[in-house]
């Protein structure tokens, strides 16, 4: 009995070690016509399993391979911590530069770059961008029963010493950045209470009446609280995207209600919204092209589109080459970066 149990336990450990060894196995050698044939591409999700970033990585793992010549195997690896910063640092400095490592890029990385955060160990514009989907933008909304149901109403309430209370997760999270940007652009006074552990807690405090509203990504609002729209529990003030949302055609874009001289700042803000994938710097141009083409082809896949819809994200594609140009322009746009610094400090 003793020796049997011991043998079984040892077999278990052996199996575990083998599993570990396989998971750590480096990508194999090139073979066949495609440089990716027989290789394994690792998608590094900058969060723990569960939640938007992880779902996105797994969405890519499900659909990407069939559009890459050679159909490489795709695995997801979760590198959680520091809101995606650890994953980005690792991707930039440690991952192979042959297209077999792809990472999710958190929007907060741009804001950290603007703030010259010393924990950043990369230059944002030097990543080899793969592409961006779901440039989703945010709805800014407030409870209908508050006196803050339009920008004019907020200005009026401000004169009486009242400010709408927005809930937010972290400083560099869009739920804080968007209301703070609105304050700076529209000349209104708002209060952002940040430090919430997650979306659910903010939504509950809005329902409790402890908060007046928030900025929430479009897909997330429709996926989690479409009944608030149906019941007129909330009034959506604006949408932070270049075009109006077809589901709420009467809601103006932030651009429409902003002074003309502030529009370049809005463009800067829009450019960091969305769900972005990147590779380390220095990926050979031919490999980057194969992957970027595959990414664009996957985007047209019906199953992929269906999954994106189900997750409540809208589907817009920005190709990697264009993203590299956009990020480069943004990083060197001192007025935009100064704007980010101003609203975040």
């Amino acid at each position: 009995m003793e020796s049997k149990t011991f043998r079984n336990s040892m077999l278990c450990v052996l199996a575990l070690l083998l599993m570990l060894a396989f998971s750590l196995q480096p990508a194999g050698a090139q073979s066949g016509d495609s440089p990716f044939k027989g290789q394994t591409i690792t998608i590094i999700a900058g969060s723990s399993p569960g939640g938007g970033t992880d779902s996105l990585a797994r969405l890519l793992s499900r659909h990407f391979s069939k559009y890459i010549p050679g159909n490489p195997k795709i695995v997801v690896s979760n590198v959680a911590g520091a809101a995606g910063l650890i994953a980005a640092n690792n991707l930039y400095n440690k991952s192979p530069k042959d297209g077999t490592a792809i990472g999710t890029m958190a929007t907060g990385l741009t804001f950290r770059t603007a703030l010259k955060d010393s924990a950043i160990k990369f230059e944002l514009e030097k990543f080899t961008y793969l592409g961006q989907i779901a440039s989703e933008g945010n709805f800014v909304y407030l409870r209908s029963e508050t006196p803050f149901t339009s920008v004019e109403a907020i200005k009026k309430a401000n004169k009486e010493g009242k400010k709408p209370k927005f809930g937010a997760q972290a400083k560099e999270h869009n739920s804080n950045v968007v209301p703070m940007a609105m304050e700076a652009i529209l000349g209104i006074d708002v209060e952002v209470v940040y430090g919430y552990p997650g979306t659910a807690e903010i939504l509950l405090d809005i329902e409790r009446g402890a908060l007046d509203g928030r900025a929430q990504s479009r897909g997330s609002l429709f996926a989690t609280r479409s009944n608030w729209l149906e019941k007129n529990f909330i009034k959506v003030l604006a949408v932070t995207s270049p075009q109006r949302d077809s589901r709420l055609p009467n809601v103006p874009t932030l651009e429409e209600i902003s002074p003309a001289d502030k529009k370049p700042l809005l463009e800067a803000m829009y450019s960091v919204q969305g769900r972005t994938f990147a590779m380390p710097p220095g990926v050979p141009a031919d490999r980057a092209k194969i992957l970027r083409d595959a990414f664009a082809a996957m985007f047209k896949d019906k199953d992929f589109q269906q999954d994106v819809d189900k997750l409540g994200w809208n589907d817009e594609l920005i190709r990697g080459e264009d993203l590299n140009k956009k990020v480069d322009a943004l990083i060197h746009n001192e007025s935009a970066m100064g704007f980010f610094r101003k609203i975040l400090q």
Binding site: A82, I86, V193, P197, L211
Partner: protein, 494 residues
């Protein structure tokens, strides 16, 4: 409603659905033994396959994988003093001393049965209170969450280990360790020494393993060659799982009360099972007439947290399904799976998709029964491990502990944390300092801090006049007075 119940019953009791459920339970139990993987990662890996299935079968499979975790994570906690997950940390307190006394089988019997019944009570409590849940959740805001966290810390600090002052000091140390990392309000890095690893705080698993598992392992290994975990008991000692079943029957009311505590905490978003188990454990100590055996292998210290753990899970499901509020990271993942299956969690799950909701409730009930049955069937074999010489177990356990620790963030820091906290754990054990308050202080620090700041920002000082805050404050004061009186009585007797 009756129609929906009939339809749901018809949907679940088919060969294929029962097969998926059993498959989920078996898969969950196999993977549950591999440290660091756990139910959440299993679900994440399986997500691409699950979303291709029909929604009812997919949900049944998810419930199966998820349900076994909460029942089976207690096995390493009892056998080796290694908490398989944070929700098994309270079971270590009395479960492992029971194993050392040769009562592993009894402890597991009691634990599995309490888990199963706790899960059932939780499921029915939640089902019965669905109409009241929304108002309850809305009444219980940030100030009440803050006070609940404080109550849990005070309870554990004062009620475990029989040394209230040492408990409070260790709890305070736990709070300080919990503060390492990004401050949730300001983003300022606290005590991170420019180490990115520390920016999210030290992960809990390496600390729990260092503080609980390594000291036990070292003690066992330093014993004479051939030492067994169940060293204190003769190898023929009879303590079957049926003794555990009798224990559960004898402590029936404790089980029910702990299940209610679990269900209640489960439906409060943001607190989670790690508080539920300790509140239930604290309640068991507080309400027990003879308390001197707690921490030394009292079966009530196993029954209460296990029942609360599974009951809180039912509440968590309810929050996710009916209100679209995932109470834990695993539930966030399940919510993502539901979205991919074309189901939007929220009030419509109680109207348009009521039959699917009932399929989930049925699956929870059945999966709990299956998990309990499965674990129960192998209790004897599992308990046999405690009778093996430790020098056979040591290499296996040490590998498992290091793997589990490293899986937290897959960073070398995890191993450094494991070793550092092992030293602290060994010293604490050697000098008689209670270890649970350290873990509880750490777990609850972030909750307490976050909710305290949100409370002050949103309510100023008016929160102090909220009725539920006053009630929980009263309970906290009562806990302190009770502990001080007990301690002085014990001193007077000594």
């Amino acid at each position: 409603m009756l129609d929906a119940i009939v339809t749901a019953t018809g949907e679940i009791f088919t060969l294929s659905r029962m097969g998926w459920l059993l498959g989920g339970v078996l898969l969950g139990s196999v993977i549950g033994f591999v440290p660091g993987i756990g139910g959440r990662t299993t679900l994440a890996i399986l997500l691409p396959f699950i979303v291709k299935m029909d929604p009812a079968s997919a949900l049944v499979l998810i419930v199966g994988i998820h349900a076994i975790g909460n029942t089976a994570d207690t096995i390493p906690a009892i056998l080796f003093g290694i908490p398989g997950s944070t929700s098994a940390t309270a079971t270590v307190m009395d479960g492992f001393p029971m194993a050392k006394k040769g009562e592993a089988e009894r402890a597991m019997g009691a634990s599995f049965l309490s888990s199963g019944i706790g899960g059932l009570i939780g499921a029915f409590t939640v089902l019965a209170t669905i109409p009241m849940i929304r108002p309850l959740i809305l009444t219980f805001g940030n100030p009440e969450f803050f006070m609940t966290a404080i109550l849990a810390i005070v309870m554990i600090a004062l009620l475990t280990g029989g040394a209230p002052v040492k408990g409070l000091i260790v709890g305070g140390l736990g709070l300080l360790i919990g503060m390492i990392g990004d401050a949730p309000q300001t983003g300022v890095q606290r005590w991170t020494f420019d180490q990115l690893y520390l920016s999210d705080g030290i992960p809990l698993i390496p600390i729990a393993l260092g503080v609980f598992a390594i000291p036990e392992l070292i003690d066992m290994t330093l014993g004479a060659t051939g030492t067994r975990i169940a060293a204190a008991a003769p190898i023929t000692s009879i303590s079957t799982k049926w003794r555990g079943v009798k224990d559960v029957a004898a402590n029936w009311w404790l089980l029910v009360r702990s299940s209610f505590i679990g269900s209640w905490i489960g439906i409060l978003p943001g607190i989670g099972s790690s508080s539920a188990i300790w509140l239930a454990y604290g309640h068991a100590v507080q309400s027990g007439k003879d308390k001197e055996n707690f921490g030394k292998g009292d079966v009530r210290g196993v029954i209460a947290p296990e029942a609360a753990n599974n009951a809180s899970d039912a509440g968590d499901w309810c929050l996710t399904l009916a209100f679209g509020i995932p109470g834990s990271a695993t539930m966030s993942l399940i919510m993502a799976a539901m979205l991919l299956l074309g189901l939007t969690p929220g009030p419509k799950m109680l109207t348009d998709h009521l039959n699917l909701t009932l399929v989930i409730v049925w699956s929870l009930v059945l999966a709990n029964l299956m998990a309990t049955g499965l674990c129960f069937a192998f209790t004897k074999q599992l308990a046999g491990i405690t009778k093996l010489p430790v020098h056979y177990l040591f290499p296996v356990l040490i590998v498992l502990i290091f793997l589990a620790a490293y899986q937290s963030t897959a960073d070398w820091g995890d191993l450094v944390a494991l070793l550092g906290f092992s030293v602290i754990g060994v010293c604490m054990k050697r000098f008689g300092w209670p270890r649970p308050p350290l873990i509880v202080g750490m777990v609850l620090q972030r909750l307490a801090e976050t909710y305290f700041f949100l409370t002050i920002k949103l309510y100023g000082f008016s929160w102090l006049t909220r009725p539920i805050v006053i009630i929980i404050f009263g309970l906290t004061v009562w806990t302190i007075v009770h502990a001080v009186r007990r301690h002085s009585k014990a001193k007077a007797q000594a």
